[in-house]
């Protein structure tokens, strides 16, 4: 709880610093604030509000996911120098909004009550609508914000309806009560309840851009300023999956009301994401589809709801976010800045900047799930526990999908290492940028070598 308070104060402080033109200290203050929030969250052992109200529960999974959110947000902030100028003029506004949005994310992964879940989702989403449109002079940015808002409003509607139906069926918003009801009724739940759960899941699926509720994602990812895209494809996705797995594991430990739904969702999401990604020429769109595909793999863990689902999703999300940060970081540094978007803009990177090219290659291999990267273990744990619970079909489909994904990941690697670069723009990459790229790569390999250490967080 103290982390949320810290972040709220930080957000307001950032806005004021912006007004009084202390732009130089913005980033240090934010990073300091995030660090404080990280420490507070990591060491939070008592549940301030949970004891009596059970509104927010900072149990071990919530702490792990929350710390991951803060860590990745800090990474996103470190990528801002050199990128905010061309992206948007309203730096402090976007910074402030991002911090508020993060608060929503933390609420989404620590809720103990459907009300706080809803609050979290909205706190996360509303700043996002503005952030997506923050490049005011750019039509595409405006269009993306509009689309996101319209579709998001629809999704929120369904989500709310779902919550209302669940309330109607169980008479409570409290998760513990709902779970108790499920246990006592044992399958004799009213169909309103089932529909409510389904609608709530649909609302969350929209947030994690699962097909067929993914249509907004490519357009919005493409139109938004890249720094916002980075934030959306990492932090928002982690928060969405944190909320999903908390819902399926927390509320209904052994019920499979949503069994077939998540099955179809996972397969559609993986397949559409991967197959369409093969067709993309723009890096940003390709990464958008790849991020849809990754949501599909994580949905397998939601589908095969076991005790390991929490930690499996955590590892996967961690690996995926690290790789994404690197890829978006490299993309912003060498292409986006110059209004380039095509895969060709990566051509010959290995000659110009071999270290960065190697980091990018490791990130891509991690996304494709090649050992010794973290991405390999992300996929391995999810697939292994799916096989343990006899979900063979979905694992086979997932493996075929990851085969397809190699096609477009390797396309980028080939561009970097085997093609001649044409543009002779001398890239000057800010130090913090390097810090993120190298740091994430190192962490990626480290997790790939010692994946078990992450398990201890749970």
């Amino acid at each position: 709880m103290s982390a949320i308070i810290t972040l709220s104060v930080l957000g307001i402080l950032v806005l004021y610093l912006g007004i009084f033109n202390f732009k130089k200290v913005l980033l240090p203050v934010i990073l300091l604030g995030l660090t404080v929030a990280f420490v507070l969250l990591a060491t939070n052992t008592g549940n301030v509000l949970a004891a009596d109200m059970h509104m927010l529960v900072f149990d071990a999974p919530a702490r792990a996911f929350g710390c991951l959110l803060i860590l990745i947000t800090a990474g996103v902030f470190c990528l801002t120098p050199g990128n905010m100028e061309y992206a948007t003029k309203f730096r402090q506004d976007v910074f402030g909004l991002m911090i508020f949005s993060l608060i929503g994310g933390i609420m989404m992964i620590s809720y103990g009550n459907l009300i706080t879940l809803f609050l979290g989702i909205e706190t996360l989403s509303i700043p996002l609508y503005v952030m997506v449109g923050s490049k005011r002079s750019d039509l595409k940015s405006n269009e993306a914000a509009m689309k996101y808002f319209l579709l998001g409003a629809f999704a929120t509607g369904f989500l709310l309806l779902g919550i209302a139906l669940i309330y109607g069926a169980t008479g409570s918003f409290d998760f513990r009560v709902i779970a108790e009801q499920c246990l006592t009724l044992q399958g004799n739940v009213s169909s309103w309840f089932e529909i409510g759960v389904l609608l709530l899941l649909i609302g969350l699926s929209f947030k994690v851009s699962a097909a067929p509720f993914h249509f907004w994602a490519p357009d919005v990812y493409d139109g938004a300023p890249t720094i916002v895209t980075t934030y959306m494809s990492t932090v928002v996705k982690i928060a969405g999956f944190g909320a999903l797995v908390r819902f399926t594991r927390g509320g209904f430990p052994d019920m499979h009301v949503f069994g077939q739904f998540t099955f179809i969702l996972a397969i559609l999401t993986m397949t559409i994401g991967n197959f369409v990604a093969t067709q993309q020429k723009s890096i940003k769109r390709m990464l958008a589809y790849s991020s849809i595909a990754h949501a599909g793999y994580m949905l397998i863990a939601i589908h095969c709801s076991t005790n390991a689902s929490l930690v499996n999703i955590f590892i996967y999300a961690f690996a995926y976010s690290l790789a994404s940060l690197v890829m978006f970081g490299v993309f912003m540094a060498i292409a986006d800045k110059y209004e380039l978007a095509d895969i060709d803009s990566f051509n010959g990177l290995s000659k110009k900047n071999p270290l960065v090219a190697i980091c990018a290659a490791i990130a891509l291999l991690s996304m494709a799930g090649i050992p010794i990267t973290a991405g390999f273990f992300g996929k391995y744990y999810i697939f292994a526990s799916a096989i343990d619970s006899n979900y063979f079909l979905i694992v086979i489909i997932a493996m075929l999908n990851s085969l397809v994904s190699l096609y477009y990941y390797l396309k980028l690697i080939i561009a970097m290492f085997f093609k001649e670069g044409s543009n002779d723009v001398s890239e000057k990459i800010p130090a913090l940028h390097y810090f993120v790229i190298f740091g994430c790569t190192a962490l990626n390999i480290l997790i790939g070598l010692y994946p078990n250490n992450l398990m201890m967080l749970f």
């Binding site: 579709l151 169909s191 089932e194 067929p212 249509f215 739904f261 179809i264």
Partner: protein, 632 residues
């Protein structure tokens, strides 16, 4: 303490390999040679100290587990080394003879530009060979097994600019791979049956009640591995070709150490063979057949190293006869004496080749005794030893093999006797052709013939002394000895089977062997010294049987016709038809299909918000319908 020593023995050659490998172009040749040799000497000394601290427990063995290597639910394999009389013996042979050959190589390879590379490979070989014999489980042995195969490959093809040498290296590698597959299969069978690869564990579990077919299968698998490595029928053809490598390599790898690994493996796992009569018979027959065939081929070769190579194959065959008759201690004894005199023979032949400016054809030699007297003396000692003339080393070991063969069956004894007579004859044929009579090469070569330098002669001297006295390690009881050597390793390889042979018969056998050997020496003397006959290189003048032997019974051609050619034809057919029209087609179609599907789905992404909303609502409705009516 023993653990540290064992680790030191193994790691010194590895350090030598890294040193000479990394600094081979930076340091002068002498330093590289000295450091490499000293690293082996260090291992030898460490092994020597171990000799006085041998384990005193019942099985006389230490197993040192350094770390867990592969851990699964069902089994656990650690990186472990084993010290017992058997491995200790092999370590002493490998490092002792290895050191001498390293020293010799300093002189032999001095002019070679790949000097540093040569020594690094040689050190690496010793490292792997030590791993092979000291491994506490089959997997560690297997690393060494593959490693020595690699080093053998690298060193046979050491002069890589000659395509024929490369072909020889490749042949050795491929032939060994066939054997390795057998060994691997055996390992899998052992792991499957006994759940462990530790020698002491799985060997301890085998007794008369164990599934006999399984034991036989495992024993045969391991023997297939041994057949590849120790160049037995039908996989022996690589060893004569392996003479393409520098002569010290032939001495160390292809005579004294690596090729005996098969015998070592069978002795180490002797319990398997003890419990399978079929496997024992197979080993015996393969051994004796190889010994005879290689001996006959050796009779007609004119390349000095080829003769020695076939002699090695033949002697290895005799060792397998000992293994097959259950006399593992005798086999190990023959390994030891053979290592002494065969290394000596190879190195002296290297000295001859060195003096003859690289000429290996004996028909162009002759009369070298006066030009290279020391080499002649040493080679004579080696030849007497291999011929089994008392008191040279070969007499004692060969005599015990013959005794073991006799105990099994008189026919086997007869065949082994013939094989050893053939050995005597071709060895002295080699001696007389090379050293007797007049020089047959051109004048230019003759002027340059010289005795080898001290650095080459000194190791030869040591080996010559060992070839003379080595046999006294184990004097049989009948001659008043105590068979000390065999008593030393019998805790590991088991005591010798009890022979029902009376002393008089044994004495008669011994006399027959010695008498026969002397007779054949005389015959060779008459043919090649007195009548001064020089074998012809012209195939047409040979009688049919000699022609067959000269052409090595066309075994290579046979393999080429029944194995290599069909494989080539098949691979061509697969490439032309299956690969191009079936596999390529399927792969390309799948790829195209994936891209096509992607392109098709992509069209849904219209960018139109109202369509997105429509799709979303439709999907929700579909899910609700499915949930309500289909899934429930």
């Amino acid at each position: 303490m023993a653990g540290t020593t064992a680790l030191g023995i193994v790691s010194l050659p590895l350090a030598g390999f890294l040193f000479s490998g990394l600094l081979r172009n930076k340091l002068p040749k002498n330093i590289i040679g000295a450091v490499s040799s000293l690293s082996i000497l260090g291992s030898f000394i460490l092994a020597g100290t171990l000799l006085f601290n041998m384990p005193q427990n019942e099985s006389k063995s230490f197993i040192i587990n350094y770390f867990d290597w592969i851990v699964t639910d069902n089994f656990r394999i650690s990186f472990s080394l084993q010290i017992d009389p058997l491995s200790e013996l092999m370590v002493l042979i490998i490092t002792g003879i290895g050191f001498l050959i390293h020293v010799y190589s300093i002189g032999y390879m001095h002019e070679d530009e790949g000097f540093g590379k040569f020594f690094s490979y040689l050190n690496l070989f010793v490292f792997f060979m030590l791993l092979l014999v000291m491994g506490g489980n089959l997997l560690v042995t297997f690393i060494g097994w593959e490693g020595v195969g690699l080093c053998s490959f690298l060193l046979i093809g050491f002069w890589y600019k000659n395509p024929a040498y490369n072909a020889a290296a490749r042949k050795a590698f491929v032939m060994n791979r066939i054997g390795d597959l057998g060994l691997l299969t055996g390992m899998f069978l052992i792991l499957y049956t006994f759940g462990t690869l530790n020698y002491n564990d799985f060997l301890g579990k085998i007794d008369a009640d164990t599934n006999a077919i399984l034991v036989t299968a495992i024993a045969i698998c391991l023997f297939i591995g041994a057949v590849g490595k120790s160049a037995q029928l039908p996989l022996y053809t690589w060893l004569p070709d392996a003479m393409a490598g520098p002569t010290p390599v032939s001495a160390l790898i292809h005579a004294a150490t690596m090729v005996t690994a098969g015998v070592y493996l069978c002795s180490r796992c002797h319990v398997l063979f003890d419990n399978s009569v079929f496997a024992q018979n197979l080993v015996t027959y393969i051994g004796i057949a190889t010994s005879l065939l290689a001996g006959i081929i050796g009779l007609k070769q004119s390349d000095i190293k080829k003769v020695l190579a076939y002699s090695t194959v033949s002697q290895l065959g005799l060792m397998f006869v000992a293994v097959g008759t259950g006399a593992y201690g005798v086999a190990m004894f023959h390994i030891t004496t053979h290592a002494f005199f065969k290394a000596l023979l190879f190195l002296t032949s290297g000295s001859v080749i060195h003096g003859m400016q690289g000429e290996q054809n004996m028909l162009k030699m002759g009369g070298l005794r006066k030009l290279m007297p020391v080499t002649w003396l040493f080679m004579l000692i080696g030849s007497l030893a291999i011929a089994g003339i008392p008191p040279f080393a070969g007499f004692f070991s060969k005599d015990q093999i013959l005794a073991a063969a006799f105990a099994k069956s008189p026919v086997l004894f007869g065949l082994a006797f013939v094989a050893s007579m053939i050995t005597t004859f071709y060895m002295f044929r080699l001696m007389f052709l090379t050293f007797a009579n007049n020089f047959r090469g051109d004048e230019h070569t003759k002027e340059h013939v010289h005795e080898s330098p001290m650095v080459m002669l000194l190791p030869l001297g040591v080996l010559a002394v060992l070839s003379i006295i080595g046999g006294f390690l184990s004097v049989p009881e009948i001659l008043g000895g105590q068979n000390k050597f065999i008593a030393f390793i019998s805790p590991v390889v088991g005591v010798l089977p009890h022979h029902e042979i009376s002393h008089s018969i044994e004495m008669m056998m011994m006399a027959a062997a010695v008498g026969g050997a002397l007779l054949f020496i005389g015959l060779a003397f008459y043919v090649y010294r007195v009548t001064k006959m020089v074998p012809t290189d012209n195939v047409n003048e040979l009688n049919p049987i000699s022609k067959l032997a000269y052409n090595k019974f066309y075994i290579d051609e046979l393999y080429d016709a029944i194995i290599v050619k069909p494989i080539k034809v098949a691979s061509y057919a697969f490439y032309e038809f299956v690969e191009k029209y079936v596999i390529d087609f399927v792969v390309n179609t799948v790829g195209k299909l994936a891209l096509f599907v992607g392109a098709a789905i992509r069209l849904l992404q219209t960018g139109n918000v109202s369509f997105y909303l429509f799709a979303m609502v439709i999907s929700i409705m579909v899910f609700l319908v499915l949930q309500g009516f289909v899934f429930n």
